[in-house]
């Protein structure tokens, strides 16, 4: 199935959990925040929230700024 992550279409296994998807991308779950279909997920939800076909994800983190 297909999800859209940070503006890019990505093919992933059906029903993949957010936590597994983050790990697959090589990211540390504690350093990112996930917005899925317009809703911000808490860190606790990463392990239970399954992605749907067509889900729109935004993975956001802190960067340098003034």
């Amino acid at each position: 199935m297909k999800v859209f992550c940070n503006g890019e279409a990505q093919e992933i296994a059906p029903g993949m959990l957010v936590a597994d998807y983050i790990t697959q991308l090589g990211l540390d779950a504690s350093s990112v925040v996930v917005e899925c279909d317009g809703k911000i997920l808490t860190r606790e939800e990463y392990g239970s929230h399954a992605l749907q076909d067509g889900s729109v994800l935004e993975l956001i983190r802190f960067v340098g700024g003034g």
Binding site: L25, S31, V33, I40, F62, V63, G64, G65
Partner: protein, 255 residues
């Protein structure tokens, strides 16, 4: 000692974390500045560079994070960024920034006010970045802002305190701390702001782009301290007319 929203700060210099040539230089410059609060921004993860993580070099025990809403063009975008910052573990502190015009990066007062009202309701400690408007500063204070951050000059311009007259009024009127932010390009600029009675200053660009950011951070720290001591010591009055420093009496032997 400076207190904002119940939290005490020994240093009256706040640091930014943008534009440094490397994370190592940033870390060393922030240490040299002595600052205890640093701003950070929120952006999309670069999926091609997942290891690029500022959090790995910044010690959260040493620095209070002040996430900003840079990039927001209206209240809705700023509120979304604020909620993401809190969900990222950024805490309740927030530098609210709403800049609809990328050319001037001047803050939108109406959208900033609207976002302040909502974010205060949601429990954020809001520090709004504003043009140096004394009336707006009071309105934001009444809306629950824990400090106000009037600009010295536009972001990244290093032009210094061009808004002196208005900032003097803000300082005279505000019950919440006044943090002069943006455009402070040289240690003399922050010394000027502190001599005027600003409670603190925020500096990013001038330190980050200096030839030697670590030494420049130290220069800014010294200027902030000098300006604060001068303010507390009480500056002499400014006069148009000259007044001799040496005695006028006792010159009879000359004429």
């Amino acid at each position: 000692m400076l207190t904002i929203a119940g939290r005490k700060f020994r240093s009256r210099l706040f640091g930014g974390t943008g534009k440094f040539s490397s994370p190592e230089v940033m870390k060393e410059a922030l240490a040299a500045s002595g600052c205890e609060m640093v701003t950070v921004a929120l952006r999309r993860v670069d999926l091609n560079n997942p290891a690029d993580d500022i959090m790995s070099v910044l010690d959260r025990d040493r620095y209070l994070f002040l996430p900003n809403t840079s990039g927001a063009r209206d209240a809705g975008e700023a509120i979304r960024l604020a909620r993401l910052a809190r969900a990222s573990g950024g805490g309740e502190w927030l530098k609210l920034e709403v800049t609809p015009d990328p050319r001037t990066l001047l803050p939108d007062p109406i959208e900033t006010f609207k976002a302040t009202e909502e974010l205060v309701r949601e429990g954020f400690k809001v520090l709004p970045y504003i043009n140096a408007d004394p009336i707006l500063a009071l309105r934001l204070q009444d809306a629950g802002a824990v400090a106000v951050m009037p600009l010295g000059s536009p972001i990244g311009t290093n032009q210094g305190v061009l808004t002196r007259f208005q900032i003097e009024i803000i300082i005279a009127q505000a019950q919440v701390p006044v943090i002069v932010d943006a455009g402070l390009g040289a240690p003399s600029h922050v010394a000027e702001a502190m001599e005027m009675g600003a409670d603190a200053v925020l500096v990013n660009t001038a330190i980050a782009v200096a030839g030697d950011p670590v030494r420049m951070a130290r220069a800014f720290a010294m200027a902030v301290e000098a300006g604060r001591i001068a303010y507390e010591a009480g500056l002499g009055a400014v006069s148009k007319d000259a007044a001799p420093s040496s005695p006028e009496d006792g010159l009879g032997f000359l004429r």
